[in-house]
Every structure is written in structure tokens, then in C-alpha cells.
């Protein structure tokens, strides 16, 4: 199910922890949904000198956090903002379909931390951490690995009243 690189990052997460004197902090997710990530960054000369994270979540969420932190470290803020979900998933040699949303979370938390830093720069030191919890629910079916989940007359689980009524013969 998970690639070796995912398992490696999960088992030995890089940069797990807190930066007490962080220049920026970003948080996404919600424990109620099963995933929550907080990213801490230290900026020096426009570069991410240090990146740390705290993550509550599944194997993929932890591996993604670790990978994102590794990818971000040393990059300029602009480079770091360009880390895409796809790049993260690719660096992890893929994620199961129902876990792809985790890769979104990591990059998003990093970006929020950068934004937090930038706002602090603009507004002074009292700015709060950035947080977004909307990203935690994927907009595709998480119940199956099919490439294009079909909205599911067959699936009583995620079948949100579309069901068989939507189905057309050919």
C-alpha cells in the first residue's frame, strides 16, 4: 500500500518538533477529521533556514509532513511556495488514492506558515498563526481506490443521494 519512502519518512520523520522562536507558523486540518498539521519556519536571508512540524494523523500525513519539511528546507520563500501537492506525492513515490488529500495538507500548512511570516513582517510581531481547517476533507470519494470514483449507486457508504438516480445506461 505505502511506498518504502513513505514508510521510511513515517518511521523516521525528519524535522518533527516545534520551533519555539519560529518566524512563522501555519496550521491546517482538524483532529476531528483525523489530520492536523502545524508547520514552523525559521527564515534567514529570504530562505527557510529551518522547518519543523507537528502532525496528528495517519501514516501518510506524517510522511508527507516529513517530506515537505525536507523539500522546503534551504529553499527561498518563493521556491518553497511553489512546492505542489503533486511534487510531494511524487517525491514519496505515490500515495494511495484515498490518502492523496494528505499531500495537499502538507504543502498548504507550509504555505500558511510562510504567509504568517510575511504578514508578521508587514504588520509587526503580534500577528497570529495562520490556520485553515477547510482543506482537511477531500472532495473525491475516499472510500475506494478506483481512479475515478463514480458517485456510487453501489456504495451505500458515500452515496449522498445521487445514487442510482444519476445513472444512465450508456
Amino acid at each position: 500500500m505505502y511506498s518504502q519512502i513513505v514508510m521510511d519518512h513515517f518511521t523516521n520523520p525528519r524535522n518533527a518538533g516545534v520551533l519555539e522562536d519560529a518566524d512563522g507558523v501555519g496550521e491546517v486540518g482538524n483532529p476531528v477529521c483525523g489530520d492536523m498539521m502545524t508547520f514552523y519556519i525559521k527564515v534567514r536571508d529570504g530562505r527557510l533556514e529551518d522547518v519543523k512540524f507537528n502532525t496528528f494523523g495517519c501514516v501518510a500525513a506524517i510522511a508527507v509532513s516529513s517530506m515537505v519539511s525536507e523539500m522546503a528546507k534551504g529553499k527561498t520563500l518563493e521556491e518553497a511556495k511553489k512546492i505542489t501537492n503533486k511534487a510531494v506525492a511524487d517525491a514519496l513515490e505515490g500515495l494511495p488514492k484515498n490518502k492523496l488529500h494528505c499531500s495537499n495538507l502538507g504543502a498548504e500548512a507550509l504555505k500558511l506558515a510562510i504567509r504568517n511570516y510575511e504578514e508578521k513582517q508587514a504588520l509587526g510581531p503580534s500577528s497570529h498563526l495562520q490556520s485553515a481547517s477547510s482543506a482537511s476533507k477531500p472532495d473525491y470519494c475516499t472510500h475506494c481506490d478506483t481512479e475515478e470514483p463514480v458517485g456510487a449507486a453501489f456504495c451505500m457508504e458515500c452515496d449522498n443521494d445521487t445514487g442510482c438516480e444519476l445513472i444512465e445506461v450508456k
Binding site: C144, A153, C155, C164, V169, K170
Partner: protein, 387 residues
């Protein structure tokens, strides 16, 4: 005593390779394929490999194959599931009059519990569905047509591609029960043009309790067994891992042997049919003379009753069947034989021989001899024969 097993359609011994392939999955690699830890993944991988092999045998994609517990379950899932998923389009389905009970009764279930109308399409004397009749039977309300690939009682192979083309043209789903054909003749879901196709494991030398359903990618159907996420939510219940692995192995073997096996079976069948028709008076060879399952020879003997014949054959070491275990136990006249226009009294004398790869020409000859003897014996005190 010689023992000649000619009832392969009823049951086949599990193939050695299939049995060997499944053995580790009982007590060693026993974990649940849905488990999230590593040892569960290995099991899931074995299931996926089996899925690829079954898909390959019928020229489908692995994600188009779902594992079930039997051919009957596959038929029920296909017919009810596809019909119920398309209620908005209409409530009419068409099945041939010679479908297996599991299709016929699934259709009757729709009739009774879901207000469906069911058309039972007649067949010709050789058991073929007339394409033009099918075309005329399709209405705006028709959602599904189910016509079997090969018939278990009379051996006739339908021209499925021709029939499915009509349905495709009319925008109607097409299901075929290929329980009798997969592993016997080439089955290519693309060439057949079908949306759903049922197969059973035992017919391939996999163990009882296995089956599969092909469904065209992204085709929606309502599950028969609702519940968890197994089979992507399409069929709940812990997967029968050993059975599935064995089915995969059997499919792989079948794919390699198909042509050679069919040629062998056909030779034996010819010998058997010619032998019987030559030696026994007043016998009817049922089904299509040519367009039929390679290893399937079916007869109706006038003046005798099938069960008695089967028993006497078995006492002489020849194992055959009356064609449909269901009809026979229910003491009903076979609806299939009635559908091809067989006289009801003659239909009582139905015997079906289904050959397997291990049968020999000697056995075919022996069978003709035994058959001649026991038919004679039963006729000797048959009031029907005397008249």
C-alpha cells in the same frame, strides 16, 4: 470397474496447481486483506494478482473483475444490480427462455418485488435466440438484456456478439452468463461486446465457493451484499482469499490450454455423439449440432426416464447428469427442453455428458456401449416404449 466421469459441468476436481497455490493462504498468510499493516498488504497483493489473471483470461481490465462466491451469485448481482441501478430509465428486462435458474429467478424477483416487466425470449429448435426477435422485444423501458453464452443443458453457444450489438445500438445493457463457457471456449469481453459477464470458479478447476463478475469499467450496479469496503464497496464480506488465489491460478492455466483442450474435447464429443446416434434408436441429440460447447453432448432417449438412466449408468461406472440438477430434484420437466420444442414425454429422458481433458476415446466408446445396454434394459419394461 471402469470409472468414466462425464459430468464435468456439475463438478470438476480442483486442479493440483490451483490447490497448491491456495494452500499458504489458509493458515500461514491468513491475514485480512483489508488490514492496514504490512502483512495484510501481502494478502491484498495476492488477491490483486489473481484478479489480473482472471481479467486476462477474459480480456478485461483487472478493475473490471469482482470476486463472488458462485456463478449463481454473479448472475444475481448482475441482473438485479444493473436493473436496480437504472430504475430511472425503466423497468423492463429481457432474458432468454433457456437461462439458468439463477438468471430466471433473479428476473422473477425483479418482477415481484420491483414491478419489473420481464420478457422471456423464445429460442429456435437448436436453442438460438433470434436477433430480430430480440430487437423487436426492446422497448424504451428496457434496461437490461441477459442472454447466456453457453447453455448447460443443451450446449448451444449463442451468437452473443450479434445480440449485444443490437443492445448497444439501442442503449441497453447486456449481461451474459458465461459459467458454461469460460475455460471451454475463448471468451473476450471486448469481442463479445458485453457489459456484464458471469463466471464460476469450479468450471475452471478452482474450488467450489468461487466465482467472478466482469463489469465494464465504471458501470454502476447496486450491490447484492451490502456492507463494507471490500471490492470497492461493490461486494461486502471478507474476501475468500484462498479461493480467489486458486481461481487466479486456474484462470492462468486455462488461458494456456484453451485451444488444445477444446480440440481434444471436440474429438471425443464427435465420437460420443456419432456412437450414440448410431447405436441407439429413437434418440434426440439436443441443442445446436455445431455451434455448441466443445465437450458437451446432450440427448433425450425416448421411452426412458433420465434419473433411472443416470443411476444405471453410474452403476456401470459412467457418471453423467440429467442436465439440470434443479429441474431434476424438483421433478419438473426441464424448461429448456420445452423451450426448444421437445415433446414433454421425450424430455423426461434427458441425459447430458460433459467431457473433461482427462477423458479418452476409449471412454467414449465404453460409454456408448454402456448406454446402449442400459437404455435397452429400461425400455424392456417401459410402458411408453411398448406403445
Amino acid at each position: 470397474m471402469k470409472r468414466v466421469y462425464l459430468d464435468h459441468a456439475s463438478a470438476t476436481p480442483v486442479r493440483r496447481e490451483a490447490l497448491e497455490a491456495m494452500m499458504p493462504y489458509f493458515a500461514e498468510a491468513f491475514e485480512n486483506p483489508s488490514s492496514v499493516y504490512d502483512r495484510g498488504f501481502a494478502i491484498k497483493a495476492a488477491v490483486d494478482e489473481a484478479r489480473e489473471k482472471v481479467a486476462s483470461l477474459i480480456h478485461a481490465k483487472p478493475k473490471e473483475v469482482l470476486f463472488t462466491s458462485s456463478g449463481a451469485e454473479s448472475n444475481n448481482l448482475a441482473v438485479k444490480g444493473a436493473a436496480l441501478a437504472n430504475l430511472r430509465k425503466g423497468r423492463h428486462i429481457i432474458v432468454s427462455a433457456i437461462e439458468h435458474h439463477s438468471v430466471l429467478n433473479a428476473a422473477r424477483y425483479l418482477e415481484r418485488f420491483h414491478d419489473f416487466e420481464v420478457t422471456f425470449l423464445p429460442v429456435t429448435e437448436t436453442g438460438l435466440v433470434d436477433p430480430e426477435r430480440l430487437r423487436r422485444a426492446i422497448t424504451d423501458d428496457t434496461v437490461l438484456v441477459s442472454i447466456m453464452h453457453g447453455n448447460n443443458e443443451i450446449g448451444t453457444l449463442q451468437s452473443v456478439a450479434e445480440l449485444s450489438a443490437i443492445c448497444r445500438e439501442k442503449g441497453v445493457l447486456f449481461h451474459t452468463d458465461a459459467v458454461a463457457t469460460v475455460g471451454q471456449v475463448p471468451v473476450d469481453v471486448e469481442a463479445l461486446g458485453v457489459d456484464l459477464l458471469s463466471l464460476s470458479g469450479p468450471a475452471l478447476g478452482a474450488p467450489k465457493g468461487t466465482g467472478a463478475l466482469f463489469f465494464r469499467d465504471r458501470l454502476r450496479f447496486v450491490p447484492l451484499i451490502h456492507g463494507g469496503i471490500q471490492e470497492n464497496g461493490r461486494r461486502a464480506g471478507t474476501e475468500n482469499v484462498p479461493g480467489i488465489v486458486a481461481l487466479g491460478k486456474a484462470a492462468e492455466l486455462a488461458q494456456g490450454e484453451l485451444e488444445k483442450k477444446a480440440a481434444h474435447l471436440q474429438t471425443l464429443r464427435h465420437a460420443l455423439v456419432e456412437g450414440v446416434l448410431g447405436a441407439v434408436p429413437r434418440v434426440h441429440h439436443t441443442g445446436h449440432p455445431e455451434q455448441r460447447l466443445p465437450g458437451h453432448a446432450s440427448f433425450c432417449f425416448e421411452g426412458v426416464e433420465g434419473e433411472a438412466l443416470i443411476f444405471l449408468l453410474a452403476q456401470n461406472g459412467v457418471y453423467a447428469s440429467t442436465g439440470s440438477a434443479c429441474a431434476s430434484k424438483a421433478l419438473k420437466t426441464s424448461p429448456v427442453l420445452i423451450a426448444i420444442g421437445m415433446d414433454a414425454a421425450v424430455a423426461q429422458g434427458s441425459v447430458v455428458f460433459t467431457l473433461g481433458p482427462d477423458n479418452t476415446l476409449d471412454e467414449a466408446t465404453y460409454t456408448v456401449d454402456v448406454l446402449t445396454k442400459v437404455v435397452d434394459r429400461l425400455r424392456s419394461f417401459s410402458p411408453v416404449w411398448r406403445k
